[in-house]
Amino acid sequence: MTHHVMGVDGSYPLLLVLWLLPLAGAILAWAFGPQLKTAAGWICSALVGISFICAVAMWGPGTQSVSGALGAHQALFSWLPGFDFGLLMDPLSLLWTLIITGVGFLIHLYSIGYMDGDRAFARFFAYMNFFVFAMLTLVLSDNFVGLLVGWGLVGLASYFLIGFWFFKPSAVAAARKAFVINVAGDVGIMFAIFMIVASVHSTAFGDAFAFAGSYNSGWLLAICVCLFIGAAAKSAQIPLHTWLPDAMEGPTPVSALIHAATMVTAGVYLVARCAPLWSQNHDAQMLVGTIGALTAIAGAILGCAQWDIKRILAYSTMSQIGYMIMGVGVGAYEGGVAHFFTHAFFKAQLFLGSGLIIHALNNEQDVRRMGGLMKKMPFAFIAMLTGVIAISGIPFLGAGFFSKDLVIQGALEHGHPYLYAVGIITAGITAYYMCRLLFVTFFGSYRGDVDPSELGIRHPELAGTPAHGADQAEAEHEGSGHGQAHHAPAWIMNVPVAILIVPTVLIGWLMFGGDNSPWAHFFAQQFPHPQLSPAPIGEGVTGLITFGAVLVGIAVAWWRYATASAQSRAVERLRGESIRMPGILTHAYYFDLALDLLFVRTSQLFGTIFGRFFDPQIIDGAVRESAFSAQWLGTLVRSFQTGLLRAYALLLVVGVAAFMIYYAVIAGGVHP
């Protein structure tokens, strides 16, 4: 079988450098953390920055196209025949690499300020750098096993960072939950790998895609579904999304980098990477597109019911990834990937902005206890405002508008009018809950000194306010140096946010111009472009309809939270809303409960039955029974052992006599 390599084979030292530098940083910070102290943060940030520069320098090789081979390929080593490893840098992985290292660099810088004074400062940066390395492994691998290695390692980094404050039981449980659900996803990818190896005897993308047309459709559907199980777990798609809101237990920069900008979009990357497989199977496209749309709207609705600022953002992340998955699912790869690209900026921006607030308010995360922050924190307000504009999709003012329209229009072009409709409705809901977040947080007057019960906060631990171990977390986080309760964000936290404002507002213009946009050119050779019949509704009209939905969302939010009368009665309104919130929304459709009953409890039941009953009673019981029967046999034989010498002699004689009689009479004599 010929070997199909994607990308131009060659030696690309820059590629190796940009891949391995974060690993070096992780090892350095991990091994010499106590010695490096705060220098660890600067070193790790610098290494990611250098990685970013290398990634930019790889632009040329990454986008080159020589006789059908797109990008750069560097062979590494081989486990055994069929399991060959290498790095592949093509436009798709280049895009991800730029985001991972670029946005990653900014978030690293921000973390130097955010994590300042934490006892495990160096350890934090070791994990962050390790995450960058793992994520680069994921997107740079030229084969499924390498991708799975990266896939598992980002899961590990995520586990470490969610459980970073490991003395908090809630953080520990959230970390474990995230890891186990992601392993369930890994298992899906593993099974897809089995099927691919069974058909093409190789794990390389090139081999798998070269024969995509030759698989039978059931087989291909099975491969796609299994791959998508992995994608769904990592990208928090229904029903494997329950870990993402809990993952907000991690420090805010972690939420920004891992649980918003990069790792959770790995599922989008996977589907986009396997575009040659998905394009061959309409059922798989339908399935993925539908789940994406479902997640988009379900996440958006849950976003309306949350009070924890990070949880609101978490559900919005889930919802936005739903958009991306819908885009790449239906075949609008450029659109899905574009939304990943803009989302990385504006969601990082939103998380970092919320981090500024949380940091300033001493780890307060409940928006009901905020309010009126516009005057106190104008910079945070501007940061959040640009983010909200971008995510809501207000035309031309934010990046999200362009990419979201690509996805929504793409769904229609690829023949999915229902998904198109869901996309538009979700855009309206998104605008509503993001503006709600903005208004409740920044408008009106400060409610931090109001008694929580008056705001309807009955169970602080359910509302997401740090409860268990919060005091210890506080002590850890503040360290010994800081005495004051509030401390203004250092410039180091503001600079990355300020830088991010630029792409959050402007980057969407790259996608402007239809087929002639820089975006379309960048991906011209990356994705399959089937011939499509023109959509019944043009791009401009779609934009207008979406804008209409967004305006409705904003208007409702304004009416409910931002009008003068609403602001004057804010405390009562919030209390009323908290109390009247339907249980199905506060419990996130009871998915946690269902998964717990279905899998966790069942497994524990099995374990208990096997361990407490089956092992000691049935199996050991059988062993005991055989021991008893041996004992009974022993008793029987023992009765012959009278101890009387003459009895033994008699037995001997009888035995000899019996033999003699047998041979003489029955056997008819001995014949030597």
């Binding site: 080593f77 486990w79 055994l80 586990y159 003395f167 171990g469 374990g607 096997f610």
Partner: protein, 473 residues
């Protein structure tokens, strides 16, 4: 001659260490033991391709003291040397000199087992290697019933192994067959011989439902000893399946393969489910061993060359991570005087190095990509699926998810959470304890990134008849 040294030196030194009065301050014994183990490692490294033979029976069948590593056992012998080295450094039991002597004798007898090229020698060392564990259980374990249970179960296996060996010799005329590719046993008696071998191998591995000696043995045996037992001794049965059963009677193995697959899958699931609910840290690892080794049984029974390569990888990987986990749990137990997850918690804050070691070992055990366990799992299952065993492959994926749950429960239950006030606070790992774990952890990472050295072993060269049939299926 290297083989003779590998077997005799540890046994003789170990036996010599049993004499004399007890003296608690014998630091030299640890360093002597470690030195011997280190020398054994380098000797083992040099033993590749060497053989030594001395015929001692010509009737009723020919048999010889024939020793030399095979393509597979070379790696197991290296694993044994590494694990013994680590275990000896980790010994902190009372009567240290005698304990280390037992470890050395265990090393020597297991060297004999894995180096044996003759079935009779294999069977003799099979029984011999039970004795150091038995005496350790009597001398250092909690309950003498455990020792007897361990011994009776495994000795029963040894008995059927010996009978099967004798029958094999009578039938074939020679027992000097391990590592040969031209032996092909046929005849009406062969199924019985196969069953005799299998019983011994299945008890030793162990495989459900012959496993009930294992959890209590693993939890009662002191950690350094159980590290070696679970890492290497449990591989004797699996090695026997590959090197003896598959190599000399492939047709019969194939006939019984469905049963082996069923037993392997049941072990996989059963062990994983039980591990989820245990509270004794060592029992969790014991049941996880049942689960992991079931996977290797499935791999062997699948008759697929890729799965077999994966089996060898996983044999080594499981040895490394189970030794590392047991040694780390030993450190935890010696510090906190308990290994109950109900009592333990929050150690990570004051023992970051200990937490790091347990973390890496637990991650390798749950099959984290990038560590050795993952390589074995994915290669095995790829092969199993390729062999057409779709359902076993699917069922074998469930324990991977369960493993992540119970291994994290183990790790987090000990290291994470708030600090428990009534637990004694002890110092973190010292450099000797770290040195004990270092070779295991380094090997886990190196093999996890690139296990190429291990996969140069080619199962189809090992027995052409065995595997070509499997691959063409």
């Amino acid at each position: 001659m290297i083989e003779l040294l590998l077997i005799l030196v540890p046994v003789v030194i170990g036996a010599a260490m049993q004499f004399g009065r007890d003296d608690e301050n014998e630091k030299w014994s640890r360093w002597t033991g470690a030195l011997v183990a280190a020398v054994m490692f380098f000797l083992a490294l040099a033993s590749r391709g060497t053989e030594w033979s001395f015929r001692w029976l010509s009737r009723p069948f020919t048999s010889a003291f024939h020793f030399g590593p095979t393509a597979i056992s070379y790696w197991i012998v290296l694993l044994l040397a590494v694990c013994t080295f680590s275990a000896i450094l980790a010994v902190n039991q009372p009567r240290r000199r005698r304990f280390i002597g037992q470890l050395l004798m265990l090393e020597g007898t297991m060297m004999g087992l894995f180096l044996a090229r003759d079935l009779l020698a294999f069977a003799l060392f099979w029984d011999a290697m039970l004795l150091p564990v038995f005496f350790t259980l009597l001398g250092w374990g909690g309950h003498s019933g455990t020792a007897w249970r361990y011994f009776l179960y495994n000795f029963a296996g040894g008995l059927t192994l010996l009978l099967a060996t004798a029958a094999f010799g009578m039938l074939y005329g020679s027992t000097d067959v391990i590592g040969r590719t031209d032996v092909h046993l046929v005849g009406a008696w062969v199924p019985w011989i196969f069953i005799g071998f299998s019983f011994a191998f299945l008890v030793k591995t162990p495989v459900w439902p012959l496993h009930t000696w294992m959890p209590i043995t693993y939890s009662d045996t002191p950690s350094p000893m159980v590290a070696v037992v679970s890492a290497v001794q449990s591989k004797a049965g699996l090695y026997g399946f590959i090197a003896i059963a598959m190599a000399t009677m492939p047709d019969y193995v194939k006939t019984y393969a469905p049963w082996l697959i069923v037993l392997g899958i049941v072990s996989l699931l059963y062990g994983a489910f039980i591990a989820l609910t245990q509270n004794d840290a060592k029992r969790i690892v014991a049941y996880s061993s049942l689960s992991h080794l079931g996977l290797i049984v499935v791999a062997i029974a699948s008759f697929n060359p890729i799965a077999l390569q994966g089996a060898v990888l996983y044999i080594i990987a499981h040895g490394l991570f189970s030794a590392a986990i047991f040694l780390t749990l030993g450190y935890v137990e010696s510090r906190e005087e308990t290994r109950s997850l109900v009592r333990l918690g929050g150690l990570g804050a004051s023992n970051p190095r200990l937490a790091g070691a347990l973390c890496i070992a637990a991650l390798a055990a749950l099959g984290l990509p990038g560590l050795a366990g993952f390589v074995g799992e994915i290669v095995i299952l790829t092969g199993v699926f390729q062999a057409g065993l779709v359902w076993p492959a699917i069922l074998a994926l469930i324990p991977i998810v369960l493993a992540s749950a119970y291994m994290l429960r183990l790790f987090q239950g000990i290291m994470n959470g708030p600090e428990v006030p009534d637990l004694p606070v002890r110092a973190d790992l010292n450099w000797i304890e770290g040195l004990a774990l270092a070779p295991l952890v380094i090997a886990l990472v190196v093999l996890g990134v690139n296990p190429h050295a291990l996969t140069t072993f080619n199962p189809s060269a090992y027995n052409a008849t065995t595997v070509s049939q499997g691959a063409s299926k």
